[in-house]
Subunit: 187 residues, 2 copies
DNA sequence: ATCATTCTGTACTGACAGGTACAATGCATT
DNA sequence: AATGCATTGTACCTGTCAGTACAGAATGAT
């Protein structure tokens, strides 16, 4: 492994694929568009992902999941609730680039792509909601409200992504996130 | 025009296309899957929509837009604000079948399909937010809060669709809508 | 019954889809 | 510098894509 290597590793390819699936969706991301945008030939692609496009998407989803598990869900379960929740909003804004980048998991949930990755999609959101609800309970919120409040926050991020992209308005995304952050701790 | 006619009219085809685009997305909705699911042959399809798939999707979006204009936006602008807002939540729940049916406009906003229909997508959400914010102002809400509150409601519906579909949980959709409805008038 | 028009099924096209085969290359180790 | 394995480009496969052509069936008006 050297800094100047021209050859790829599987780990280098996944982030590139992620951006392409985000922009084009699963069906829109054709092999030729992938090779065109990444400069990686079919040979390499099928070497790293023998299962083809489906394995590529699965690898991307797994990486997304790992990222959220590490930087959002785990802290919510482990750290001081108020701090972890504040970090969640910050991380969400950074990860989604203030609405400039969509949530691949949410996008896959909307069309028939969901069927292929149902378990992964479900787990991603389920664990987010549960971790956040847990943090809310630990911060003193009654358990009866915590789940609904957590669902509301997670759903709000997804909605903010849709709307800010629809209106091509990043400011809306930040504004919505700020408001949700306030509401989550006060109400 | 007779009740027993076996031949289609353009107006008959659009709702069928709508469901297909909703389920499969723009890229996923291939001509053969359209003919397969609707039973309408290519001949008829290209007769009604000489511009092909893009014209089909545009027709669907236009119909969606018309529906919301008539049953949501216009009432919000015209009728008693409290009543129109209550009707909006009811209509949203019915139209999206408690999360069993996604918002095509929102789904198109997420991937590159947005580029094709940017103006329509923007207008759909822009007019929704403006009409709702206007109703809120007329109901006594300060203009400084109205827009943000309206954005929040619209984005919340989109997010609820994503999340309820991701978790395959219609109850979540209804619960989220109820909560948003309460928050919109109280807070 | 005729006729012009609207509508429809079938067959076709060239382009491109996902995927495979494999020879050639790059690189770390020795 | 030779070996062995990871990586890559190219050519190719079969199926499906969006779109076209067009003959014929159904329709409404006369």
């Amino acid at each position: 492994m050297s800094a100047l290597r021209t050859l790829y590793e599987r780990a280098d390819v996944v982030p590139l694929l992620a951006e392409i699936f985000r922009e084009l969706g699963f069906e829109g991301a054709t092999l030729s568009r992938i090779t065109e945008r990444t400069g990686i030939g079919k040979g390499s692609l099928y070497h790293f992902f023998p299962g083809g496009k489906e394995e590529m998407a699965a690898a991307v989803l797994a990486e997304v999941d790992t990222w959220f598990e590490q930087f959002v869900y785990e802290p919510l379960r482990r750290d001081d609730p108020a701090e972890a929740i504040a970090a969640m909003w910050k991380n969400a804004d950074a990860y989604f680039r203030s609405g400039g980048r969509i949530c691949l998991v949410g996008a896959f949930a909307l069309d028939e792509t969901r069927e292929r990755f149902a378990a992964t999609i479900n787990g991603y959101f389920r664990r987010w909601i549960d971790a956040l609800a847990g943090a809310l309970v630990r911060s003193g919120r009654p358990a009866s409200e915590a789940t609904a409040a957590a669902e509301n926050a997670v759903l709000g991020i997804q909605g903010a992504l849709v709307l800010s992209r629809a209106l091509d308005d990043k400011a809306l995304f930040k504004r919505a996130l700020d408001q949700m952050a306030k509401r989550l701790i006060t109400s």
